[in-house]
């Protein structure tokens, strides 16, 4: 055990690969938050009056709320007045008209991350709406998408070009008063992505956004809104890495999905923000509200997430299954190492008849980390024939880590079937022994066992992400066998 422990130490000491800061002048607001800051953000972005009113209403409600304490995460109190709420990379001339005009330093950042934006985007056939800090600076493949009638743009552009869609859908899935962080986001959100897929259209490519937090002390408050009209299909990929930094950064995003009759939305996330160092110093605080609403008949929303980063993750991608026959899915792998804390799970609210939901959650804890699954499956009296299957498994590596499972199942319809199963155990000694005995190194053996453990989730990821996720997992856990 002791010799193994030393190995663990050396292997775990592997540094975060994407830790670098690009030196770009930021056009930031001074730290602090009051109505004038909210107004200033709105003015900077030339927003219509309805949006400013909406922000101010959210801000006033936020003032009445207290930060939630029910999650099993611990962190020093956050000083919301010490955060700068707006930071935009300063354009060299004006807004770039094409990818060639984008700040070369910015592009270099992507290079270091291993995402040569234009090359890779073209090769992979992926349109990338890259969010660098808070303002979108490059959007590709707009033409191809425009031909199909798909709107894929930054949130600011959407506010400018499609205010009627924003006014109609914004805040209808996650109302500004939903929770503390959603209210904060609604008041100060800087930018994000907007997708509208018109009726009957299958989006011709996977849509992807790379997030990257860059300027010091700026919380990122992204707002994503995806609408799939009747019969539309869209797959959206969200992936993120952030540079190394000692100060905790707050990230409170809101993602809203709306699926109308027969629409399908697949939302995949690979989250690899800076998790803090091996002593738990630094790292991103990730407090996200993600929710999708199946408004129409036979609509489908599928969440897939691979969470390996962030010092604290507080995230519950949920589905409200309103339409009859609608389907909700949640596939998650959450890895917590060192002093990371992950409190994640999902909510499935069955309202329509014959609604179906599936939850597969795999949690892995190593080092001193705490990994919590928290979920709610609720079947309302109207949801005749509702069906849910939940499986949440936890894998423990090391005697100092913790894994918790807190599901709630509420059933109010006698014709519903709800099944929940969960297990918690350490990595199997016999499996490890089997591999070692056949000459596989301990590290490879652990990787193999862990990817086997996570396979049910990885197979749900789009191809582009599957490889990356697998690599991320092995980096995050390297040597964590104890």
């Amino acid at each position: 055990m002791s010799s193994k422990a030393t190995d663990v130490e050396t292997l775990l000491s592997r540094k975060y690969q994407h830790g670098f800061v690009t030196d770009i002048e930021s056009d930031s607001l001074p730290p602090g938050l009051d109505e004038s800051v909210v107004t200033a953000i709105s003015r900077k972005k030339n927003e219509p009056q309805f949006l400013l009113d909406w922000r101010l209403k959210a801000f006033r409600h936020w003032l009445t709320l207290r930060e939630p304490t029910w999650a099993t995460v611990h962190h020093p109190p956050i000083d919301y007045q010490a955060i700068s709420y707006f930071s935009a990379p300063r354009p060299p001339t004006d807004a770039p008209k094409s990818i060639d005009e984008v700040d070369p330093k910015l592009l270099a950042t992507y290079e270091k991350l291993g995402i040569p934006l234009h090359e890779r985007a073209r090769l992979a056939g992926v349109a990338v709406d890259a969010v660098f800090d808070s303002v979108s600076v490059a959007t590709t493949f707009k033409d191809k998408l425009a031909k199909a009638g798909v709107i894929f743009c930054s949130f600011s552009d959407a506010v400018r070009d499609h205010p009627e869609l924003i006014e109609r859908y914004l805040g209808t899935v996650v109302p500004p008063a939903d929770n503390f962080f959603a209210a904060l986001n609604s008041a100060v959100f800087s930018d994000g992505s907007f997708v509208y897929v018109p009726a009957g259209v299958r989006c011709p490519m996977e849509l992807s956004t790379y997030f990257r937090i860059n300027a010091a002390k700026t919380g990122q408050f992204e707002r994503t809104l995806i609408i799939a009209a009747e019969g539309a299909t869209v797959s959206y990929l969200e992936g993120c890495t952030a540079p190394m930094r000692d100060e905790n950064q707050l990230h409170a995003a809101v993602v809203e999905l709306v699926a109308l009759d027969d629409a399908k939305i697949k939302y995949s996330t690979v989250q690899n923000w800076y998790p803090g160092d091996e002593n738990g110093v630094g790292g991103i605080y990730n407090f996200v509200t993600k929710r999708g609403e199946c408004r129409g008949r036979n609509a489908k929303i599928s969440w897939t997430q691979v969470e390996t980063g962030s010092a604290i993750t507080w995230k519950y991608p949920s589905c409200v299954l309103k339409g009859d026959g609608s389907v909700g899915e949640f596939y998650s792998v959450a890895v917590a190492n060192n002093y990371q804390q992950a409190d994640t799970g999902t909510k499935m609210i069955h309202i329509g008849r014959d609604t179906k939901s599936t939850i597969v959650s795999k949690g892995i804890s190593a080092g001193h980390a705490v990994n919590t699954y928290r979920g709610l499956v609720k079947v309302l009296p109207s949801a005749t024939g509702a069906r849910n299957f939940t499986q949440c498994d936890s894998l423990l590596m090391g005697s100092q880590c913790a894994a918790h499972t807190f599901p709630i199942v509420e059933v109010r319809n006698p014709d519903a079937t709800v099944e929940h199963e969960a297990s918690t155990s350490k990595i199997g000694e016999d499996q490890l022994f089997y591999c070692l005995q056949r000459g596989v190194s301990a590290e490879d053996a652990v990787n193999m066992i862990v990817s086997g453990f996570c396979k049910a989730v990885f197979k749900e990821l789009p191809m582009e992400f599957a490889v990356e996720a697998q690599n991320l997992l092995s980096v995050s856990l390297e040597g964590a066998v104890g």
Partner: protein
């Protein structure tokens, strides 16, 4: 009472009852418990562990201590024990219960125990079940009027039946009673507690049982609730287990308007084993809220929890079970299984099987299902010429009875089955099949 409803009436009536009590040898520990209880107040749905049970209506009602009374009815479990002990409105009858037929069993009233050795009894009271979420146990420590102290020093073959009855003629009566059972090293006993009464009045019963198993001891504990349909019952059961002790616990919920049955178990030393079985029957407008919390505080400990929940009418059944494995332990094993059956569109079943694991060398699992009767089983019976109503009745009964197969006292099992059948649709049919 004034026209405006006082939302803290219950709390203030408990405080008044506390001030009216004559002091006894354990006044200091009672005062400490009361202070904590008053500081916490009554639980609200904002307390995570009470999110499915709303006490607002109860909080607005003042309560007064139930007077001493004589038992009006016999327990339907009386057949299993030659000399059952009666506790009426929290007081043993006769006041000094004695049981001489078994030298390994000694029983005295808690009042006598307090008078004889207040210091050691006071030390025995501060307990694991008195958490913030289970604050009724705190109130019980402050206000319990009397109860039993049972000591088991050897192998006791015959089961001991304790019949708790609430005999009141008022709607505002509150009964606070307590039972302490200490099973010595290597000793063995079976304790059955049967709660009944209520007499159609909205009585509040707040009972606590503390069971301690010394090294190598083994115990089987039953608590059976069959109070009247107006009774509110808060029951806290605390079980502490030393090395290599074994405990089997059955909770059978068949009565009352609101029953909150809490079980706090703590496995303190290696080799301790705990099995709990909960049969929760929601009938009419009943609310059953069963909360189990098992802590594995030592290496090589095992716990298994099995629950069957049935909800009919407008009832609501909650099964909330939490297993915690403490840091620094190795080889803990735990299993939770809860199956729920909903029989009516106005009933509700809520399950919360929770795992809190702070060590890596563990094997823990839970499974929970809620749904209707298995269509394949139904088809099997229909295909054999049994009509649908009968087939459903049989399957419902089988679903619940499965839990009782582990009972080691056949008399108790038979009596509980009889009582269970009376709660089910198609009772006559089931009796005919038996």
């Amino acid at each position: 009472m004034s026209a405006a409803r006082d939302k803290d009436a219950a709390l203030r009536s408990f405080e008044a009852a506390w001030h009216a009590r004559p002091g006894d040898g354990i006044a200091a520990t009672r005062a400490e418990a009361m202070r904590r209880f008053l500081a916490l107040g009554l639980p609200s749905p904002r307390d995570e562990s009470w999110r499915h049970t709303n006490l607002r209506a109860l909080a607005g009602r003042p309560f007064a201590d139930a007077e001493p009374a004589t038992p009006m009815r016999a327990s339907w479990l009386a057949g299993i024990c030659a000399a059952p002990i009666a506790i009426v409105n929290g007081r043993p009858l006769p006041a000094a219960p004695a049981r001489t037929d078994d030298p390994a069993l000694s029983i005295e009233s808690l009042r006598a125990s307090i008078d004889r050795d207040p210091a050691s009894l006071a030390a025995r009271l501060g307990s694991i079940g008195e958490t913030e979420s289970e604050r009724w146990a705190l109130l019980n420590r402050a206000l319990f009027v009397d109860g039993l102290h049972v000591r088991v020093t050897g192998r006791v073959a015959a089961p001991l039946l304790i019949v708790h009855s609430a005999e009141t003629a008022r709607d505002d009566a509150a009964v606070h009673s307590r039972v302490i059972v200490d099973v010595a090293a290597g000793a063995q006993a079976t304790i059955v507690e049967h709660h009944l009464g209520g007499d159609g009045h909205a009585t509040l019963v707040n009972h606590t049982t503390q069971l301690h198993l010394a090294p190598g001891a083994s115990a089987e504990h039953y608590r059976v609730f069959s109070s009247d349909a107006h009774t509110t019952h808060f029951d806290a059961l605390e079980i502490t287990q030393a090395a290599d002790s074994r405990c089997r616990q059955f909770t059978i919920a068949l009565g009352g308007a609101l029953l909150r049955a809490n079980l706090s178990g703590r496995l303190d030393a290696a080799g301790a084993e705990h099995d709990s079985y909960s049969l929760l029957v929601g009938h009419g407008a009943r609310q059953v809220d069963c909360v189990n919390a098992i802590v594995h505080a030592a290496s090589r400990t095992t716990s298994r929890q099995t629950a069957r929940a049935l909800a009919a009418g407008t009832s609501r059944v909650v099964f909330n079970s939490r297993v915690r494995v403490e840091a620094g332990t190795a080889g803990a094993q735990s299993n939770q299984s809860c199956r729920g059956l909903l029989l009516s569109p106005t009933a509700e079943i809520d399950t919360r099987p929770q795992l809190e694991i702070l060590a890596d060398d563990v094997k823990c699992a839970h499974g929970a299902t809620t749904g209707r009767l298995d269509p394949n089983m139904l088809f099997y019976l229909l295909a054999r010429g049994i009509d649908r109503a009968a087939a459903q009745t049989l399957l419902i009964y089988a679903f619940l009875d499965d839990l009782l197969t582990g009972m080691s006292i056949p008399g108790a099992r038979h009596a509980i089955e009889e009582a269970l059948i009376a709660e089910l649709p198609g009772a006559d049919l089931l009796r005919a099949y038996r």
